[in-house]
Structure formats: C-alpha cells, structure tokens
C-alpha cells in the first residue's frame, strides 16, 4: 500500500477538523446541530475568491506567486478579510433567524429545522451568484516535494497543515486561558447559572458564531486552494463534520480536531482499499459505530 494516503488523509482531516471545531462549539453552547455550518465553509471560500479577484484587479503585483507557493499576496490578505466577512454573515443569520427562536424558547428541533432551511437558501444563493462551475484560487501547478518515507506534498499543502495547527492551538488556548473562553465554557455547562454569575450570554453567543465562522472560512479556503471551490463544497463536508464533532465528543475542541484527522485518514485509507466512489460513506460508518459503541465520543462528557 502506498503511504501517500497518510498525507492525503492528514490534509482532508485538517479541513474536516477545522470545520468540526465550529460545529462542536455551536452545538455545545447554542445547543443545536447547525446544518448550515457547511455553507459557512463554502461562503468563506467564495468570499475569499471574490476579494482576491478584486485585489488582483487593483494591483496585478498582488497576484504574483510568492515562492515557493502557488498564490500571491492577494490570497492571504483576502483570507483575513473573508474571515471577517464570514463571521459577519454568521452573525447576520443568527440575528435574522436563530435569535428569535432563542427568545421564544423554541424547541431545539425547530432550530435544527431552521438551520436546514438556511443551509438550502445559502447554498443555492451561492449557486446563483457564482454558478455551479468549479472555481480556483490559482491556476498554477505545483510540483510535490519528497518528504522521505515515500511521502510527497506540495508547499501549499504543508503551509495549510501549519495554518490548521496554529488555528486549533489558538482556539484551544482561547478556550482554556482567557476570560471569554471561560465564559464560553460556563455557558455551555449551564446558561442560566452563567448569566446569574454576571456573564453576558449574548456576547458569548456572538463570539461562538464568529469563531465558528472564522474557522469554517479557513477550512473553506484550504479546501478551495488544495482542491477546488464549488457551491457544494461545504454541503459535501457536512456529514464528515458532524461525524467528527460526535466522535471527538461534543464541546471538545482538541477532540474535534483529532476526530477530523481520524476521519480524514480513514477516508484516504478507504479510497485506496475500497475505491474513491465510497469515500462519502466512510463518515457514515464511523458515525454509526460511535453512536453504537460510545455515543458521547472520545472526549465528551456523559449526558
């Protein structure tokens, strides 16, 4: 068996892991599974694409590749802007939709359903704006470098793995070492008690949306840079995201990232062992196995 699957799996897993951290945060603090989270990945990728296009239009120098990577300064700059815009998008969806359900104290399942409707609308809106034709950040081809042990990777792939690692460590430190992180964990344990203790629950909720959307945007850009950008990019990742969030244990940031990597590696292994056409079934099999054996996941607390 070709060991290259480890590299492919790590990259797919990093994308899934970043998305799953957002899912696990919204799930543990807002208490519903957000079916629209996948759309944040797609929107993040398309927003970055649009901003990068505009930047390249303003100054052609920005699109000149920075060696050894395949993209110019336009992409990192547009990524930062897109992260902010995706965060605003998530806040807008929350303000228009989910906040009124929270105010009314609607059942969880109504929020799940609303997220389902929102995902449909957001995804088809992308299809309307950008058509379903795949898009790319860059047309440049990259030669993979030999890493030893039979592994190969392009500079872009290595950079993205590094970005994912930095993002997850940052979120983990934010959750464990800062005031807002402690506030988030308190709200996830008990919202009523947390607000009595003087925690601004609404601010916590806004932070969660922004953080989840920012990570989703990074994952979307990664997927767009290394594979391609499509309106269904996020929708096709939704099942792996949920599977990773549940496997890692709802609420656990390192758990979600680790589970994302596990799922990515299993997918890559299955592609080699069974065939690429069954890739999407891998996360379903893992999901079923987790629900059967250990519904609270690797690092989750028993409910």
């Amino acid at each position: 068996m070709n060991p290259q699957f480890i590299m492919d799996g790590l990259i797919a897993g990093a994308i899934i892991g970043l998305g799953a951290v957002g899912v696990t945060l919204t799930y543990s603090i807002l208490r519903f599974s957000n079916f629209a989270h996948g759309e944040l990945l797609s929107w993040g990728a398309y927003l970055a694409l649009a901003v990068a296009g505009a930047l390249g239009f303003l100054s052609a120098g920005l699109t000149k590749p920075i060696a050894p990577f395949s993209f110019g300064w336009a992409l990192p700059i547009s990524a930062v802007i897109a992260i902010g815009l995706t965060g605003l998008l998530a806040l807008a969806v929350d303000a228009l939709l989910f906040s009124s359900f929270r105010r009314r104290g609607s059942a969880i399942i109504i929020m799940v359903m609303a997220s389902f409707g929102a995902s449909l609308a957001l995804r088809s809106l992308l299809e309307f704006l950008f058509t379903s034709k795949p898009a790319y950040f860059t047309k440049a081809l990259q030669i993979a470098m030999k890493l030893g042990g039979g592994l190969r990777a392009t500079p872009d792939q290595l950079l993205m793995l590094g970005v994912a690692l930095v993002a997850v460590v940052t979120v983990h430190l934010l959750m464990t070492r800062t005031d807002i992180g402690r506030a988030m964990r308190a709200v996830s344990e008990n919202p009523a008690l947390a607000s009595i203790a003087g925690i601004d629950v609404r601010r916590v909720i806004r932070t969660v949306w922004f953080l989840g959307a920012a990570l989703a945007c990074v994952a979307g850009i990664m997927s767009g840079l290394l594979i391609q950008i499509r309106p269904y990019l996020g929708h096709d990742l939704l099942l792996p995201l949920f599977a990773a969030a549940i496997l890692g244990g709802i609420g656990s940031v390192p758990g979600a990232m680790l589970a994302g990597l596990i799922i990515g590696l299993c997918e890559a292994l299955a592609v080699q062992a069974v065939g690429a056409e069954w890739r999407a079934a891998v996360s379903f099999v893992i999901l079923i196995a987790v629900l059967l054996v250990r519904p609270r996941g690797l690092f989750g607390k028993a409910s």
Binding site: S33, F116, A121, F284, L287
Partner: protein, 323 residues
C-alpha cells in the same frame, strides 16, 4: 384540447398525490411525534427501488426483475423502508434529539452512493426502466390512462388519510400526542416514550417507501437523480406550509407546493433564456429555503396546523381571568 388539459390535470394531480403520501408519512414522524427526518429522499428511494426490483421483468445485467404483481412490489417497498427506518430509529432515538436528524442525513448520503455505485443491484446512474405501470393496457387512450392512475392515487391517499385519522384518535395516537406535549407526564403514566417514538418513526418510513413505489410505478422509470436532497426539502416545505400535525394540511400542502413548484419551473423555462436557466432554478430553491424559515418564524403551525391541546387549554383558562 379540453381533453388534453383534463389528461394533464389528472397527471399533475397524480404526481402531487404521490408527494401527499410522502407528506403523510412525514406527518406521522414529525407532526404526531416530533421526530426530525432529514433523509426523506433515502426512504422514498429505497421503496422505489425495492418495488422496481420485485416487479420488473428479469434483466441479465442486474440482480432480479422478479415480475411479481404491482401490489406485492408496493408491499415490499413499505416493508423495506419500514425496516430501514426501524434500524435508524433504534440506533438514535434514545440519544439526543438531533442525533436522529444527523443519522438520517447520513442515510440520505449513503443511499445516494449505493444507488450510484451498486450497479448490479440498482442499475447505477442510469437507474431502472420498464417498471410496470398500472392500467398499462389503457395506455393508448391518454385520458382514460391518466384518470385511472389518478383514481388509484386518490384511493391510496384517501385510505391512508382515513387510517391515519383513525390512528390519531386511537389510544396509540393519544399516547404519541401525550409524549409530544409532556414526555414526563406520559412516562409517569407508565408509557415508554422511546418505544412509541420508534413505532411512529417506522410507520412513517414505511409510508414513505410506499410513496416511493407508487411514484416509481406511475412514472415507469427511476434513477438516482430523482432522489436528490431537494426532494427532502420539497416535502418539508409541503408539510410546513400545510401545517404539521394535520393530515388534511399535509395533503393540501403537498398539492399547493407542488403546484407552485411546477408553475415556477414552467415560468423559468418559458421566460428565462436557456443559458441562465440553471441560475434561475437555484433562485427557485433559495425561495423554498427562505420560505421554510419564514413559515417557522411567523406561522410555525402552518396554514391548517393543529392547535396543541395544552395551548388550547391554557387559552381557555386564560380567557375568563382576563375579564
């Protein structure tokens, strides 16, 4: 000319009624029990393929073709989809409420993959053709053929409607409603919510399978493209518009939403230039998504929704105290 219009109306209504059957199945799961199913397309597809395999003539390049009578196919469809729902439900209903939603989403993805890749069983991307249609010997006379098929659909929907109404009033239906309104109280009376929920989920799935079979035999041809996630969204829109918990609303919502969908699709294909049609079609889907959210925000009970017995009681009690 008028005969053509009549034949088309019968065709249109028959199609709408197949959706009404799916909608009735979903109403058992969501309206009566509060179980969220995001994989409707999968249960419908499993029914359609089961019935197709049982009733089509033998075919050398795939499994089956058993040439059984149509009604055996329908029965088989309901049983298979029911079994699948039971399996999904048994696994997830005892867990958090949205795990069922996630699992049904997974089922939809997996069934889609199986339809495409299990070529020897499903015919792969090209699907299965030559599914026997009821009243095939009337096919030369378009009007009689459409009317006969419409009559079959109408009878199926009516029978299901009466059965489900009866079920809702039966002790079983009352327990379901009690669990939905106040699980703790129902439990205190010795009812086991998990068991009742699982039964309702299985029954709803079986009805969806039946609908899939009915649709497959009505069209005569099935392919994975018929069971994309958009089907799930359409059926949800139908039930939410019609009003969850109400069987008449489910049927009316199915006809109304299917009518709007067909009308807007016709408008798109007449007024929009060919190269823009894919984009216009995606706007159509945006409208469904936004509509679903707006209904949830403004009229969560739908156009004909059921008023929950507890709310009715509360408003009755509240009214005199205001004076």
């Amino acid at each position: 000319m008028t005969l053509d219009i009549l034949a088309y109306a019968a065709f249109f209504l028959s199609m709408a009624l197949t959706y009404a059957i799916i909608c009735l199945g979903l109403n058992v799961q969501w309206g009566m029990t509060g179980l969220f199913n995001v994989g409707i397309a999968a249960f419908v597809a499993v029914g359609a393929y089961t019935s197709a395999l049982l009733t089509t003539p033998p075919s050398p390049d795939r499994f089956g073709g058993f040439e059984l009578p149509i009604f055996v196919g329908w029965l088989g469809a309901a049983v298979t989809s029911g079994l699948l729902s039971w399996a999904v439900g048994a696994l997830t209903i005892r867990l958090r409420s949205d795990y069922l939603a996630i699992a049904t989403f997974g089922i939809a993805v997996t069934v889609q993959l199986c339809m495409l890749n299990l070529q020897p069983l499903t015919g792969g991307p090209f699907g299965i053709g030559f599914i026997p249609r009821p009243f095939a010997d009337l096919q030369d006379n378009a009007l009689a053929f459409s009317l006969a098929n419409f009559a079959v659909m109408a009878i199926v929907v009516l029978a299901l409607y009466l059965a489900l109404e009866h079920l809702a009033k039966s002790p079983w239906g009352r327990v379901l409603r009690a669990i939905r309104e106040d699980e703790m109280a129902a439990q205190a009376l010795g009812k086991r919510p998990i068991r009742f929920r699982l039964q309702a989920f299985t029954l709803g799935g079986a009805i969806m399978g039946l609908a899939g079979a009915a649709q497959a035999h009505f069209i005569g041809f099935i392919a994975p493209d018929n069971y994309m996630p958009i089907l799930t969204f359409q059926v949800w829109a139908m039930l939410i518009v019609g009003g969850s918990g109400n069987n008449r609303g489910a049927i009316a919502g199915a006809i109304l939403v299917w009518g709007l969908w067909a009308l807007s699709a016709a408008a798109v294909s007449t007024f929009v230039p060919a190269e823009q049609q894919a984009r216009a079609a995606s706007l159509q889907i945006v409208a469904i998504g936004v509509g679903l959210c707006l209904m949830l925000l403004w009229r969560p009970r739908g156009l004909f929704g059921e008023v929950s017995p507890l709310t009715r009681l509360k408003s009755l009690r509240a009214a005199p105290s205001k004076e």
